[in-house]
Point group: C3
Chain length 222, copies 3
């Protein structure tokens, strides 16, 4: 994650921030929402990738890289706010875990697109589009859930559904592995495709980490 | 990890739990013991797998999946108890780390069995049975150690021995990798078998994480 | 990580340590500096490996193993000091994260050397020497930065530069992957070499984790 200038954030607060009683803690909610919205952008780029020819793919990879950089900046802003805030709306460790897992999702999605271009994959194996559809659904649910952290409403349905989606992703992933090894592909091709489907599975796992952290926060608040 | 109903746990405690002075903290010890006992079940299924033919393997995989689900429930119960307890017997982060690492062990053991079935492995390479024996020994030691968290007795021998077993597992694993690459196997077979022996090595690492966390807890208490 | 005797550390402090107001907290700085210096030793062994023939390699691997053991001892000493100290110079979780990431770097560097010997690699692909040069530069910067934790001076340049180096390592790594898959290598050779370049990339990531933790500490102190 590239480092950004500290003054970007320090300029917006006075030297009294560690002592005032009503810190600008609300900004955490906005930051998490922004991070999740960025992931929706990433999941749409993954969907676009599915039908794209090789020249379109390079351009999608470029936009994905921009989205991943935006995600890095969002994560860094959350960490900086966390480290310079005296009072936070949730436990610091949960804010840290939430921001990190959101960042991981974006990193894995970007890596998947980059590998498709880098390895000049002609055709993605059947099943990858199911993996990506599950990720897109999880991204939408996550983006809808983040603003609800403010009121803690309707979060139970969110984390149950994301856990269900992760189980579904796991099934799709294992079927894909069996398919890759069934003899149709040569070993080099298996290696390339396995790396791509594994990284998409890691993205699904990271969505579950986000949901588990949201559950942790909600249980503590209840 | 599938989500479970919050009411399963909330129903057992009154609304006064965050304020009473003698919380039911003892349940953590029972929960860790249950989680470790479940891992012993998993390690025995791994041992059974070694001599099993393909129809027996499918049935072992089924029982392993059930054990892994039981493990998920145990982990979730610990997390829920942790998040809703005002006082805990150890530092919260150590309880979290202990439950997570116990859960990881079960996940890796289940994944190994599932991959053997999924990839229709005819014969496991020589050395895998040594990996599994080390895991079984670590599982027994871990299950014996968990009840001792209550009194902190006899834990030093446990974590020293698990660290020794992990070093042994590491040696076995590296020898297995060298064997897989020695030319006897074709590339697709190497890929399949490497994934299985790697996941068994991850299980050994997770036992060490459990032991290191127990050591951390013991040092803080001393 | 092998366990070491508790008395090694306990003998140096009295039973009053948890209550005295000026604990020997300075030792954390020395411990981090020692851990980073050990990583410089490791990075120099990686550089030596590049030009070494197979008999020299075995001897380099031996020295690398010794450096990795020294690193384990250093990490264990930090953990023990952390768990038995009442007051610490930084947040406990940051001390833990810093020590763990320094330990990870050494583990990955040792694993890389061991795999080169284990797989009897004749010739490392072009690009690996660039990976190792980046690691050596990151090691030097990290060793220079650790003593500055005492005063918090000149740390910004350090973490910006390590983040830049990690981005560079990432580019080199992806180019190496594309090169490995370009058809010149057979599948077994790709598998072996990919494991080695992946583990070197993990070392670069771990340097970034160290830098990010240092940034976290510095922001909290500012």
């Amino acid at each position: 994650m590239p480092s950004i200038s500290l003054t970007d954030y320090q300029s917006t607060r006075g030297p009294y921030v560690r002592f005032r009683l009503t810190p600008r803690e609300t900004s955490f909610y906005d930051m998490f929402a922004a991070s999740a919205d960025n992931i929706v952008t990433g999941s749409k780029l993954l969907m676009e990738l599915l039908g794209a020819d090789s020249s379109a793919r390079a351009e999608i990879a470029e936009r994905m890289r921009a989205a991943e950089h935006a995600g890095d900046d969002a994560t860094h802003a959350i960490f900086h706010q966390l480290n310079s805030s005296f009072i936070t709306p949730f436990d610091r460790e949960d804010i840290y875990a939430l921001a990190s897992s959101l960042d991981d999702i974006m990193d894995f999605m970007e890596e998947a697109v980059d590998l498709v271009v880098l390895y000049q994959i002609e055709e993605l194996p059947k099943g990858v589009e199911q993996q990506i559809e599950v990720l897109a659904r999880a991204a939408d649910l996550t983006a809808e859930a983040m603003p609800n952290l403010r009121t803690m409403d309707n979060l139970t349905e969110y984390w149950i559904e994301v856990n269900r989606l992760e189980n579904q992703a796991d099934q799709i992933h294992r079927k894909l592995l069996a398919h890759l090894f069934n003899g149709k592909y040569d070993a080099i091709e298996v290696l390339k495709l396995k790396q791509i489907v594994d990284v998409l599975e890691e993205a699904a796992d990271a969505f579950e980490h986000v949901a588990n952290t949201v559950e942790t926060i909600a249980v503590k608040e209840s």
